[in-house]
Amino acid sequence: MNGKHDQTLKRAATASRGQRVTDSALILPLVGIILFLLPIMWPRSSDLDPVAGTATSTALIYLFVVWAGLICCALGLAFVIKRFGVGRR
């Protein structure tokens, strides 16, 4: 009885984890798109006010940090998926 209960719990937990992994796998690219498109709203230098623009070095650091962050998330997700086999549905 107890074992059966445990099994049910386990299955529910697995299903829930599968759902969460799937959801994050779908959301991650969306987050990537938003973060990568963010720079288009940054201030740009203009002839009238040359100082207000964003420096390329700042943009460079931002983009590479976001990029690396996304790679880490994808790595974590890939690890979870490979470990628990959600991908082999």
């Binding site: 740009r44 983009l63 690396a68």
Partner: protein, 884 residues
């Protein structure tokens, strides 16, 4: 300065090394030791063919011109890979299930195994890839020319391009078309490009490290130089940033070579999970030093230096010959790996979607008769590879290698990206149809050509300056750089925006307005529900197909060893020994997919269809079968109707038979009756004749007996007359003399002829009898005489009386003869009209009993009827005559 001879020597060594690696990998794979080659790492490295010479040299140039904008080319693929769960996983799953061999095959297969669509995508791919191959040749040539500067030129640039193209063709043919793999995977090539991927990454990183820590003073210094450089400000236009990111993502999915390594060469879905982070990491590393190299190059090198070559010229300027050599090999690797894979992918598409369908059609029964399909496919691929490289070379010669690398790359990307809407629609939207796909692709191709491809050759080459300035045919809103009058957009963004928008619009509209064929529907379900691992909907039926024939065909296509292996495995799975499994539907499906790996889905289906003949069941066949079933059902309905008819006929026949039997009995009875009727008078005639011969007979008796004989003879004559009359009437041989006659006259005549007034009193109502009818008066008189005589004969009342009542109704005239006797008993009423029927005993009747039978026949011949009228307290007969 590095000598050109040394450079070429090292290059040749490197090429030989690559050949060796590829050869060794093929050997290992053949020997079954290739397991480690199917690792996620090799898979990820093979994806690096995305980074071509355009990336290796061009990215720095791009960055030097437009700053961070070059990153869009890597951010797009990064997003695609991070989102692998949504699109790539589905593509890989579908490709595996359907044995997809190329992107053309994917679309062809999705839209009802359409050869037309496959051909169109192939043409688009060739058109889109040719400039790209030219670009690679150009980069190799340009990079060599850097080293050749100042030395005596032993090789002209065109020669270099030609030799490079030739070398690449040889490599591709040797390792790309060595065999026809059922999975269309190429261990040797994949291994070689993995090695090249490492070389180019290491080369770029090495140059980057040297630039940052050798030429500049570390990371901080580089950042400071960036802020001081011409690209110090973030000046990326919104449209280009979004447009180029989208374009690179689209191209990453649709480029034939990317599809080849990412989807077709994928051996395990889990490799995608690794690649989802590893390949973005590779891209990150590849682009990490691009801006520093560009900035330092702009800073150090003399003004006017080609920024596309900073990767080479920076080490050279610092006299770092070894590094320059490595950088050159990196660039060389980038160019060659791209060309090799692109050539393999395109040659597969050309042979599967253009050559083989045409060849099969030309041969008619091709696959089933003799002939080596395998050699045809391989030869066509080899020729295609040569053709593709020749095209690339020609494009390079014609375009003169002038345009900046980046712009050529973008034109290619935009052309290939036209496939994206149809591809995504194909794998996500069940309602997408072939017509829609064709409409979308053609629309996208036309808009792309007009706004981007044709103008790229420069004015007056393929499109006139007049058209560029004022629109096609002078229509202002058709200007190739400002469609619909929208000006001010960046040309690339403008072209991509309009081509993809109109493409998608045509695709959706075409799909909604057209109906998919049955096969399309089935394939749509297969593709959309790629993750529901149900049994396949399309199917082969166990039929007359001979496993041996199938084996001989498969051997011709995928090679003897592979085919035998496939067959033996299938046989073992069925629990059989040997090489010949039962041609079960499952086996046929496996075989079709196996063949599809070599010749494409559409062709494999057609071949197996020819082979299996009528036993192959496509949905179209099922439809045909359904039609046949409908026909059979209709036929069965007809049979049922006929059977019903037959039943009716049989019943009629049975009735007729019964009637005949009855008639036969009646005839027998009649004959018995008539014999009896004839015999009685004959007996008395004979007896009295004998008595008359007696000499002792007194004279007084003699006349008495003679009268008896005479009476009997008369009776006989009357009987025979009646019989004759009846026979004539019954056979319908009687000729009636119809004329208008007054009923009263007929009755008068009958009363006179019957001569029964002394036996019975006849009461008539003369007023009602004044009717004219169309009849045969003599025959009718005969009937009336009979009825009157009968009444006189049988009425046993004290004062016999016969009433004759004439009644007129709209449809008939009835004449009732009603006497005041006892009438006819109920039991006899039914049969008084039969021959020889008599209600009372014979002696009294004095007739043959044919009177009423004759009456009935006469009246029926006159179109009326005679019946007994019960319930009149005496015998009552009703004669109904039709009114004219």
């Amino acid at each position: 300065m590095l000598s050109l001879d040394l450079l070429i020597f090292v290059s040749l060594i490197y090429v030989a090394f690559l050949f060796g690696v590829a050869f060794w990998a093929e050997r290992a794979s053949d020997a079954g030791r290739g397991g480690w080659m199917r690792t996620p790492l090799i898979y990820t490295l093979s994806l690096s063919i995305y980074c071509t010479a355009w990336t290796f040299y061009g990215a720095v140039g791009f960055a030097a011109r437009s700053g961070l904008e070059f990153l869009t080319i890597y951010l797009g693929p990064t997003v695609v890979l991070i989102g692998w769960w949504l699109i790539l996983r589905r593509l890989v799953r579908i490709a595996r299930a359907e044995r997809i061999t190329s992107i053309a095959d994917l679309l062809s297969s999705r839209f009802g195994k359409s050869a037309l669509l496959g051909g169109l995508v192939t043409v688009m791919a060739v058109v889109g890839t040719t400039p790209y191959i030219a670009l690679q040749l150009q980069s190799v040539t340009t990079s060599i020319s850097v080293f050749a500067k100042g030395t005596q030129n032993i090789l002209s640039s065109t020669n270099i391009a030609l030799w490079t193209a030739a070398g690449l063709a040889v490599f591709t043919i040797v390792f790309g078309t060595r065999n026809l793999d059922v999975n269309e995977r190429h261990s040797g090539v994949v291994m070689a490009i993995a090695v090249e991927a490492i070389v180019k990454l290491l080369a770029l990183l090495a140059v980057g490290v040297f630039v940052v820590w050798g030429l500049a003073g570390g990371a901080g210094d580089v950042l400071a130089r960036i802020d001081a450089s011409p690209i110090a400000q973030w000046e990326v236009s919104t449209g280009r940033w979004i447009g180029l990111t989208f374009l690179s993502a689209a191209a990453f999915l649709c480029l034939p070579r990317m599809f080849q390594v990412m989807v077709v060469e994928n051996s395990q879905e889990s490799h995608l999970a690794t690649a989802s982070w590893a390949f973005p990491l590779y891209l990150l590393l590849m682009s990490l030093f691009v801006i520093p190299i560009a900035v330092v190059g702009l800073d150090i090198l003399p003004a006017g230096s080609n920024p596309d070559l900073f990767v080479l010229t920076l080490p050279l300027s610092a006299e770092q010959n070894g590094l320059a050599m490595l950088a050159f090999l990196g660039g060389f690797s980038s160019a060659t790996s791209m060309v090799i894979v692109a050539a393999i992918a395109l040659s597969t598409m050309i042979s599967n979607h253009i050559v083989t369908p045409i060849w099969l059609r030309a041969r008619g029964q091709g696959a089933t008769i003799s002939g080596d399909v395998r050699s045809v496919v391989l030869t066509s691929r080899r020729i295609s590879i040569i053709g593709i490289l020749t095209l690339g070379y020609l494009y390079y010669r014609i375009s003169g290698g002038g345009a900046a690398l980046a712009s050529i790359g973008l034109i290619s990307f935009a052309g290939i990206a036209q496939i994206l809407p149809v591809m995504l629609g194909g794998i996500f939207w069940q309602g997408a149809t072939k017509i829609g796909a064709l409409a979308g692709l053609i629309c996208g191709l036309v808009v792309w050509s007009y706004t981007m491809f044709l103008p790229s050759f420069g004015p007056e080459v393929l499109i006139s300056q007049e058209s560029i300035d004022h629109g096609l045919w002078g229509v202002h809103w058709l200007r190739p750089t400002a469609l619909f009058g929208i000006e001010g957009l960046d040309p690339v963004v403008h072209a991509v925006f309009w081509s993809i928008l109109l493409n998608s619009f045509a695709f959706v509209a075409g799909s909604i307005l057209s109906r998919p064929s049955p096969l399309e529907r089935v394939q749509a379900v297969q593709f959309i529900s790629a993750f529901d691992s149900g049994p396949s909907a399309r199917g082969w039926q166990r039929g007359a197909t001979d496993a041996e024939d199938l084996l001989s065909m498969a051997q011709r296509i995928i090679g003897a060893a592979q085919a035998q292996n496939l067959f033996r495995t299938a046989a073992q799975r069925q629990g059989k020994q040997g090489y010949l499994p039962d041609p079960t539907p499952q086996f046929l499906e496996t075989l079709e997919r196996g063949l599809a790996g070599s010749v494409g889905a559409a062709t494999a289906h057609a071949m197996l269809g020819q082979m299996a003949g009528g036993s192959s069941v496509t949905v179209e066949d099922l439809m045909a079968v359904a039609d046949e079933t409908a026909q059979i059902m209709e036929y069965s309905n007809q049979l049922e109707a006929k059977s019903g008819e037959l039943t009716t006929t049989a019943r009629k026949l049975r009735d007729a038979n019964e009637k005949l039997t009855k008639l036969s009995i009646q005839k027998d009875a009649f004959l018995t009756q008539i014999s009896h009727e004839l015999r009685t008078p004959m007996t008395s005639i004979r007896a009295f004749s004998e008595i008359l011969q007696d000499p002792d007979l007194s004279d007084g008796d003699r006349p008495k007996y003679a009268r008896i004989i005479e009476d009997e003879t008369q009776r006989l004559t009357r009987l025979l007359d009646d019989l004759l009359d009846l026979s004539v009437l019954e056979n319908g041989q009687v000729s009636l003399e119809l004329r208008q006659a007054r009923l009263r006259d007929i009755l008068d005549r009958a009363q006179a002829s019957a001569n029964v007034d002394k036996h019975i009193r006849i009461r008539r109502s003369a007023g009602r009898e004044d009717i004219f009818i169309l009849t045969d008066p003599d025959r009718l008189t005969q009937v009336f005489i009979n009825l009157m005589a009968n009444a006189a004969k049988y009425c046993e009342a004290q004062q016999p009386e016969l009433r004759v009542i004439v009644t007129e109704t709209p449809s008939a005239i009835t004449v009732d003869f009603i006497d005041n006797g006892v009438g006819v008993g109920k039991a006899h009423q039914d049969m008084i009209f039969e021959k020889f029927a008599r209600a009372s005993d014979h002696s009294k009747a004095g007739g043959a009993g044919l009177g009423l039978a004759i009456c009935r026949e006469i009246i029926s011949n006159l179109g009326g009827q005679i019946s007994y009228l019960p319930g009149q307290r005496g015998a009552a007969f009703r004669v109904s005559l039709p009114r004219d």
